[in-house]
């Protein structure tokens, strides 16, 4: 769990949040009123006066009097104290029991865990209202008691959050390290675990306080509150009783209750945005237009090339950017690529160099909000940037195919291999269910899967990584595409499997006569399979040329650096017996 802990800048950040700042200000104000309520209230909130019964607002009594002739404003102010305090009691008790329980269950596991889970289930299946009523009958109409009981009932909210956080942290190596280095359990919990738990607990709290205030109001409405403590809910329920005579008596507590609850909820949302970094980007209308980097990146170093085959894909001056805050983050500054028919083109670079983003841009599948902000992508004579969805869909799966890096996460876990394999065949290529099934089984057999029938029926999690990657390759080439974009197709696999998969790719390339854009960080793979290579660094293609030429005479310092980092040697011969 990589939640950034609340840095000292949290409050300033909240203040900059568009909804967070008014919410925070309101909550702070409400708390101030609650704390200072006794001194702020202009009159005694319980003092009754016959003259003031249902009195209209006046200079002396700004909000008039209620049914018992008490000053409404003073009651409202003092009710703030009780209402907020009630909410705090709920949160405090819920946090105390939920956090302690979650910590213990998560950290110790075993029977503590089992007991915790069972208790949580007990609390959650208990009908909260009935328990509250029973507690009230049993122990008398005390506001604090009711709130404490409700706190206990709502504590699973904390328990779950904390439990999950602790489980995640306990798996981290640094906790293991702390454990083996002999740190005592309390110190580990204090130092590592509590830190991890802090953010989610803060986050949950504003919601719980709001829930507590709401529950208190509901109890008061049912006439189950404590008659001696003025709360908003009680004022509301008294107001409802006399609504026909004086609707204002409903208005004031409704406003106080509603605004406080809205503020707490908004504050919670803002906290989540800031703590979990889910702040929504500014809408496009308000975003500054994208601008290229001020310094012009150096032109790409081109090696001489004798390849005369027709050009299939031509990427020129491509820039890719993602919206962030009020502006843009540019991940590809200038990408230039030429992939010819039948060519296997390696796109090599370190992670973060923009090579995958270039590939996604060609596919038209950039992540949320991402956009090709400059340059052109021409595929088979057609400009792809700015192409509409339908036309792009017509290309994807038919003429451009994609093999991803991480096989397991690229198969939908909720569907069988067969289902997700055949669906595009039927929808995109218009095959019948039967044809699609036969094609799929044939292809599965072709990519070297020993028992295609079984794999066809399997769910992704039942396959090994290598097997899954074969499935993905088979699915990608099903339509006989012109261009296969393979994004690090072997990186996530075991070494022996890597070789097998590379061999499979090589065979398929020969067999199907397609061009390949192979994204990789490894010059070994490039040397192994590519006839052409482009080197990318910091979002820019810096050097490009036939593999042999680039390997033999790298000109850009970055290419040289990359080459120096790998052990030298001849390309290995194909592995014996790797193919079935």
């Amino acid at each position: 769990m990589s939640t950034p802990a609340s840095s000292p800048g949290l409050v300033p950040r909240l203040l900059r949040h568009p909804l967070g700042s008014p919410a925070l200000v309101f909550v702070v104000l409400a708390v101030a009123v609650a704390v200072a309520g006794r001194w702020l209230a202009p009159h005694d909130p319980t003092a009754t006066s016959v003259a003031l019964v249902m009195a209209p607002p006046s200079a002396e009594h700004w909000l008039g009097g209620d049914a018992a002739g008490r000053d409404v404003l003073s009651r409202l102010v003092v009710a703030t104290t009780y209402s907020l305090a009630g909410g705090m009691v709920v949160a405090a008790l819920a946090a105390l029991s939920g956090v302690t329980g979650g910590l213990a269950a998560g950290y110790f596991g075993g029977w503590v865990d089992t007991a915790g889970a069972w208790l949580t289930a007990l609390v959650m299946s208990a009908p909260a209202m009935v328990i509250l009523l029973a507690a009230r009958t049993a122990f008398g109409p005390s506001l604090w008691l009711s709130m404490a009981v409700f706190g206990a009932l709502i504590s699973p909210v904390y328990y779950r959050v904390v439990y999950n956080a602790v489980r995640a942290v306990c798996g981290e190596p640094y906790v293991d390290a702390a454990r083996t280095s002999g740190l005592s359990t309390p110190r580990i919990i204090a130092r590592h675990v509590l830190l991890a738990v802090r953010a989610p607990v803060i986050l949950v709290s504003s919601g719980v306080v709001a829930a507590g205030i709401g529950m208190m109001a509901a109890l008061d409405f049912l006439g189950l509150g404590s008659p001696s403590t003025p709360t908003w809910g009680q004022m509301l329920s008294e107001g409802f009783y006399d609504m026909a005579r004086n609707p204002l008596l409903v208005l004031w507590p409704s406003l106080a209750l509603g605004l406080t609850m809205v503020a707490l909820v908004l504050l919670g949302n803002a906290l989540r945005d800031e703590l979990e970094g889910t702040s929504a980007p500014a809408p496009d209308g308000r975003r500054a237009p994208w601008r290229p980097r001020s310094e012009e990146p150096p032109r790409v170093i081109e090696h001489g090339d004798a390849d005369e085959r027709p050009v299939l894909l031509s990427v020129r001056d491509l820039a890719v950017a993602y919206p962030r805050g009020g502006g843009w983050t540019t991940v590809v500054h200038r990408s230039d690529l030429t992939v010819r028919r039948g060519q296997v083109h390696g796109l090599v670079g370190e992670s973060g160099s923009g090579k995958s983003q270039t590939a996604f841009a060609v596919l038209g599948l950039l992540g949320q909000g991402g956009r090709a902000v400059a340059g052109s992508i021409v595929f088979g004579g057609q400009e792809l940037t700015g192409l509409d969805e339908a036309r792009m869909n017509a290309l994807r799966g038919r003429r451009i195919a994609y093999v991803p890096q991480e096989p397991m996460s690229n198969l939908d876990p909720a569907f069988t291999v067969g289902a997700q394999f055949t669906d595009p065949l039927r929808v995109v290529l218009g095959r019948s269910a039967k044809e699609a099934r036969r094609t799929a089984l044939d292809l599965l057999a072709r990519v070297g899967i020993p028992d295609p029938e079984r794999v066809y029926r399997s769910y992704p999690h039942q396959l090994s990584g290598g097997m899954a990657q074969r499935v993905l390759i088979a699915a990608a080439v099903a339509a006989g595409p012109d261009l296969l974009i393979a994004d690090e197709p072997t990186t996530a696999l075991d070494v022996t499997v890597q070789a097998e998969v590379l061999d499979l790719l090589r065979e398929l390339i020969d067999e199907l006569d397609m061009s390949v854009l192979l994204v990789t960080h490894s010059f070994g793979v490039v040397a192994d399979i590519c006839d052409h290579v482009s080197v990318m660094s910091d979002g820019t293609v810096v050097e490009s040329g036939p593999t042999r030429s680039v390997l033999a005479g790298p000109r850009h310092p970055y290419t040289r650096e990359l080459l120096a980092a790998i052990p030298r040697g001849n390309p290995r011969p194909p592995l014996e017996g790797a193919r079935p």
């Binding site: 009754t48 016959v50 002739g69 008398g140 005579r245």
Partner: protein, 506 residues
């Protein structure tokens, strides 16, 4: 065109809306109304006649059961299942002649033996009013349609009691039935439709065929809908869902009126303080008559009436209502609001610094009322501390936990009934069982009734006011509202009319 879900929804709504427009309309004037819907502010405690409650629950029982006698809206005794009644000279033997040919809804015949059993079962049962028959020593079926009751002392309220729950007649088949509490078998004008009834929510009755008194069967069907929540009740009224109801609170009367209901007012309860520890057993100060009088002077009754019940009542210092023989108009303002006089009296009694009373505070009444009264008393040096109580309230109250407390008690139609309710040493609301020789002497005269009994009751009233056994605030108006198709005649001393006094307007 394939109908879209939205289309379907629109069609459904369109189909529903016209229905809603007329579903609760009051029907056309020429026909006999189909149904009477009564809003009930209290739930039925039990159908078992021997344990039955009365007061607000009377309507339930009047639908299903007959009583031996009936009382009309003015409190006059009328024939019920007994057609004639007479006392002997000593007023300790009551003979009742019973109606012949009456059967219960299960077919069982009603006769003197059944009546005797019902009476004895009530006397020995768990009804809160069981003591109403405590004077009955013996009940005997003289013949098939004559019952004779022997009393240990004259009881001027007995005939009235026999028109209430004490006179309920249930089929003997229900006597030991396990489901007697939920399944009534009476000889009354209606039978409970168990299918349509939802216990503790809605009770549906249909008229019985061949009932001996068709004049009281004014509707083919009656629904009594219980509203536990005052606001829900008011919403039902505003939404036109009930024909008649008695409102929880006077503050709702204006709403009902603007929703087109007729408002019928009649004093039912007196609201005030019961200064129970008048013997000074627990709280010495309350034992002093000057302190009790001081409390009475400390009350601005007009203001309390306006503040708590919006003027729907009449300020008074006596606990007997205007329909009672004991009533004396002059006593209404026996204790004018006078904080100075109150302080004087406290000083005379030896409490120059005032006194402190602990009173129970429950959620049954709005906290605001408690504080309003406490605030008022404090001006005269009488501090009231609240003690919060939950469900044990009534038990603790009757057990004598608080020397003074706030309550609203019924203004009974007969002085003797008031005596039995709150004055007699063994009465429920004389919680410290205070026995006063003057009171008992007057009670002996009241017991015998007649002119002297009436005079004695007036003397008793005067004596109680002077001795300040109570500190009443005001007589509270009971509020019955009826819609345009319904009329109702208030019954003296009761919150709701007799069932047969709720009539369709033609």
């Amino acid at each position: 065109m394939k109908p879209s879900p939205l289309h379907a929804l629109a069609v459904t709504l369109a189909a529903l809306l016209p229905l809603t427009a007329c579903s609760n309309g009051s029907g056309s004037d020429s026909e006999q109304p189909e149904e009477l819907v009564v809003g009930m502010p209290v739930d039925l405690t039990t159908w078992a006649a021997a344990d039955a409650a009365w007061g607000n629950e009377a309507l339930y029982h009047q639908a299903v059961y007959d009583t031996l006698l009936r009382t009309d809206a003015q409190g006059g005794v009328e024939p019920g299942l007994a057609t004639e009644w007479s006392y002997d000279e000593s007023m300790t033997r009551l003979t009742l002649e019973l109606r012949e040919g009456v059967t219960f809804s299960d077919g069982t015949a009603f006769d003197a033996e059944v009546a005797v059993q019902n009476l004895l079962r009530f006397r020995d049962g768990a009804s809160e009013n069981a003591a109403n028959l405590s004077s009955v020593v013996e009940a005997e079926a003289v013949d098939a349609d004559t019952v004779e009751l022997t009393l240990d002392a004259p009881d001027p309220a007995l005939l009235t009691y026999l028109s209430h729950n004490a006179g309920l007649q249930a089929s003997p088949e229900t006597f030991d039935a396990e489901d007697a509490q939920v399944r009534p078998v009476g000889s009354g004008p209606y039978v409970l439709d168990e299918e349509a009834t939802v216990v503790s929510s809605r009770y549906v009755f249909t008229a019985r065929e061949d009932y001996w008194d068709p004049e009281v069967q004014l509707y083919p069907k009656i629904t009594m809908q219980y509203y536990p929540d005052a606001t829900a009740m008011l919403n039902a009224v505003k939404g036109g869902q009930v024909n008649v109801t008695n409102l929880h609170s006077s503050s709702q009367a204006a709403d009902a009126e603007s929703a087109g209901y007729d408002v019928h007012l009649s004093p039912v309860n007196w609201k005030g303080l019961i200064l129970a520890d008048r013997g000074g057993e627990v709280e010495e100060a309350v034992g002093d008559v000057r302190v009790r009088q001081a409390i009475n002077h400390a009350l601005d009754r007009e203001a309390l009436l306006d503040a708590m019940d919006h003027g729907y009542g009449e300020p008074t210092a006596q606990i007997f209502g205007p329909d009672s023989e004991a009533y004396a108009e002059a006593l209404d303002d026996a204790y004018p609001y006078d904080p100075d006089r109150a302080r004087e009296l406290l000083e005379e009694a030896g409490y120059p610094d005032g006194i402190t009373l602990v009173q129970p505070q429950t959620s049954f009444t709005p906290a605001s009322e408690f504080e309003l009264i406490a605030g008022m008393l404090a001006e005269s040096g009488i501090d009231v501390e609240a003690e919060h109580v939950g469900s044990t309230f009534i038990g603790d109250l009757l057990g004598g936990a608080w020397p003074t407390f706030r309550f609203a008690l019924n203004q009974e139609p007969l002085p003797w009934m008031t005596y039995r309710l709150a004055i007699a040493p063994d009465s429920a609301w004389n919680v410290y069982d205070v026995e006063d020789p003057t009171v008992e002497k007057l009670a002996e005269r009241m017991r015998l009734g007649g002119e002297d009994g009436a005079a004695a009751s007036r003397e008793l009233n005067e004596y109680l006011v002077e001795q300040a056994w109570f500190a009443p605030f005001y007589r509270l108006q009971g509020i019955v509202v009826t819609d345009g198709s319904t009329d109702a005649t208030h019954k003296v001393g009761y919150a709701m009319p007799n069932l047969w006094d709720i009539v369709p307007v033609s």
